[in-house]
């Protein structure tokens, strides 16, 4: 996962010479108490989760002594905030805030820009989207020339930061950009950048996401799954990532959407090709079906890789069907997909008689691939329907077939609805 927690981001900021509050991360209430004792003054106890609006959701609590810190850490650890489980808390010295600023770096992919943009605002501590444009100063970075300290100074000057804080704010902006570049971030944000009543500038909070394709350059970050998502990787995500990392031939991208299925209408979804895979999801959704997972096996993966993906997908508890969404006239060697899917079906379908499978596979040696699929499943107790390139864009039809087979399968099991 390429997103970093606040405490991880702050360590990178510290290395980039951006001042951060005194503090440490804890996984137990006892540890939290000990850290608060070490800090020796009132502390903030902050839940480490990937979500905005953490303060409003009750994820930040204050404590005036170690015993209190231990107690509030105990309340937060193991609780669920914004659907995310809190496993770590950051214990930090409580800041005496005079003013809050905002600093952020994003990448603008638009055709006129295609470069990083550094943003600074005198209105920190709130969502930057809600700040009026005249309160935001920004500059596009020419990456060949680099970002200079005077660029940072100009941003602060533009918003009339008082002289006595100019240099320390500019250095924090500079430090954030250097961290962004050094760690190949996709986004990096200090919000708020705090001016304390003592006149010190410190990073109050920080959000960072490392570019997936650059994660290999930073083994020290210990990122388990180099993929953007709004939640930490599930067990299935981790297994899928191992399939991907262990075999570089072709792509196997799987992301679990519903780790615990407690209702009907979920489908194990196995797409082929980034754009095409989405087509099936849109159509299933219009039929009131949900996907338990998103997947994409493409770029000519081996049969072994396709097999592992298919097996993982079909094995998700609670799903009512499997769809191979090959909405693509592909030039990849489709018989590898046929072989891989057949092997997974042969192992899994006998365990669930009547299980619905809608299979669409089009393109290179389609006829042979279809024969492999039909022959390989002819003696299995599942409900199979196979389609080829004359149905490649018939997304609604295929989603309707999936729904119809699922309803039949429910009758088998005596489920109404």
């Amino acid at each position: 996962m390429a997103r970093l927690y606040e405490y991880q981001g702050k360590q990178l900021l510290k290395a980039g010479k951006v001042p951060i509050p005194q503090g440490e991360v804890a996984t137990t209430p006892q540890e939290a108490g000990k850290i608060a004792g070490k800090i020796g003054k009132p502390v903030a106890v902050k839940a480490q989760i990937w979500a905005g609006g953490r303060g409003k959701a009750g994820g930040i609590k204050f404590a005036s002594n170690p015993q209190e810190a231990e107690k509030v850490a105990g309340d937060l650890l193991g609780s669920t905030l914004k659907d995310l489980k809190v496993e770590k808390v950051l214990i930090e010295e409580k800041l005496d805030i005079d003013k809050e600023y905002y600093v952020g770096v994003i990448i603008d992919a638009s055709r006129e820009v295609r470069a990083p943009i550094v943003m600074f605002s005198t209105e920190g501590g709130v969502d930057i989207e809600s700040v009026p444009p005249e309160k935001i100063a920004q500059t596009t970075v020419d990456v060949l020339r680099g970002f200079r300290l005077y660029d940072a100074l100009n941003l602060a000057v533009q918003l009339k930061v008082p002289n006595q804080h100019l240099t320390s704010i500019a250095q924090a902006i500079m430090g954030l950009f250097q961290t962004f570049k050094a760690y190949n971030c996709r986004t990096a944000e200090i919000n708020p950048l705090v001016l304390t009543k003592e006149g010190k500038i410190l990073a109050g909070d920080c959000r960072m996401a490392i570019d997936d394709s650059s994660v290999f350059r930073h083994p020290e970050l210990g990122i388990e799954v180099a993929r953007e998502a709004s939640t930490p990787p599930t067990e299935l995500d981790k297994i899928a990532w191992q399939i991907e990392e262990g075999d570089l031939r072709g792509t196997c991208y799987i992301a679990q959407m519903a780790p615990e299925i407690k209702e009907l209408n979920y489908v194990g979804y196995h797409g082929i090709g980034g754009g095409g895979a989405i087509l099936g999801v849109d159509a299933l959704n219009r039929q009131g079906l949900k996907i338990a997972n998103y997947a994409d096996t493409s770029g000519n993966p081996t049969a072994a890789k396709v097999y592992r993906a298919a097996k993982l997908i079909i094995n998700q508890p609670g799903i009512e069907g499997y769809m191979l969404g090959g909405f693509i006239v592909a030039n990849q060697e489709q018989w590898h997909h046929a072989h891989g899917v057949v092997k997974a079906l042969r192992e899994e379908i006998p365990k669930r008689p009547g299980f619905p499978c809608v299979i669409l596979l089009c393109g290179n040696r389609e006829k042979e691939s279809m024969e492999i699929l039909k022959e390989g499943t002819s003696d299995l107790p599942g409900r199979f329907e196979f389609y080829g390139s004359d149905k490649v864009y018939e997304t609604e039809f295929l989603a309707k077939r999936m729904k119809a087979l699922i309803l039949e399968y429910r009758k088998d099991r005596g489920i109404t609805g």
Partner: protein, 298 residues
């Protein structure tokens, strides 16, 4: 006529001796592309599918004379150097069929290409093909498959999905039409070519009578297509499909570029922006072919 690559476009293959490079060079040459040279350091003097191999781009250009375009079959972490080398060799069009390229490397390539007036396609682009004329990258895969899927006709195609770059032309063929040039703009988070860069090229191409776009969630590309239409940089019929109506925010869908960030890039917003510009947005992919047919009165 076609865009980006024509009959006499001379092409270099960087990384020609690698597994991908050698296979794709043979495919490009077999399809009719003028592949005049390849580069792999330390392999100068060899031949791959009858194509001479040089140690550096400079050596290739010095020996071959003018080279118009390059295709880079170089792993992601090495792409930046390959692109800088091609730009310094005077090559003006570079196709990058490479994924998982470090983001800051991409930004540096974009900046250097802009400075030197070079057109970059990708990264993560499987290439471009003008049926019956030439192909760069691996769009089509084999000469036989490429001939079956891509037939000449009046429609330009631009796609953000590699697979759909083959599937949309197939659907266009099923509708009884064909294509001038098919361009896959790539899958990485920052791309050298947007729909907004390619549409004016199709506008200038006499043989292109209409354009079909396969769009996706995330990024500014569909909005830039709408902008090109609003600014009259493109005035021919334009049919667009945007995949991902269902997609939730903050999750990536295979392509590094397919992510809705900070509330921007949803299919709904893209469709709204396109419709306001007067573009023909279709709700389902099977409507692309028939809609083009109707607009062209074919």
């Amino acid at each position: 006529m076609a865009i980006l690559l024509e009959k006499d476009t001379t092409v270099l293959v960087q990384g020609i001796t690698g597994r991908e490079g050698s296979a794709r060079a043979a495919f490009m040459k077999g399809y009719g592309t003028k592949v005049v040279a390849g580069v792999t350091p330390g392999r100068g003097g060899e031949e791959i599918s009858g194509i001479p191999v040089y140690n550096t781009v400079e050596e290739a250009v010095r020996t071959q004379g003018r080279i118009d375009a390059s295709v880079t079959f170089v792993p992601g972490p090495g792409l930046k150097d390959a692109v800088f080398e091609a730009i310094d060799g005077g090559i003006k069009f570079i196709v990058m069929p490479v994924e998982r390229v470090p983001l800051y490397d991409i930004l540096e390539m974009m900046a250097y290409a802009k400075l030197k007036g070079v057109r970059l396609l990708g990264p993560g682009s499987i290439g471009a093909i003008s049926p019956g004329i030439a192909v760069m990258g691996w769009l089509g895969g084999t000469p036989e498959f490429a001939k079956r899927v891509f037939v000449p006709g009046p429609v330009g195609v631009i796609s953000r999905s590699g697979g759909q770059s083959g599937t949309v032309p197939w659907a266009i063929k099923e509708a009884g039409l064909g294509v001038t040039t098919v361009v896959h703009i790539g899958t990485e988070p920052v791309l050298g070519q947007s729909f907004g860069d390619i549409l004016p090229l199709f506008q200038a191409d006499e043989d292109t009578k209409a354009v079909a776009i396969f769009g996706e969630i995330g990024g500014p590309y569909e909005e830039e297509a709408a902008e090109a239409v609003r600014k009259k940089e493109f005035t021919k019929p334009l049919v667009v499909f945007v995949a991902g109506a269902w997609a939730p925010e903050g999750m990536r869908f295979s392509h590094a570029s397919s992510i809705i960030e900070r509330g921007k890039g949803s299919a709904k917003d893209k469709i709204k922006s396109l419709k306001e510009a007067g573009v023909h947005v279709v709700d389902r992919p099977d409507e692309i072919g028939p809609t083009l047919k109707r607009l062209l009165n074919a």
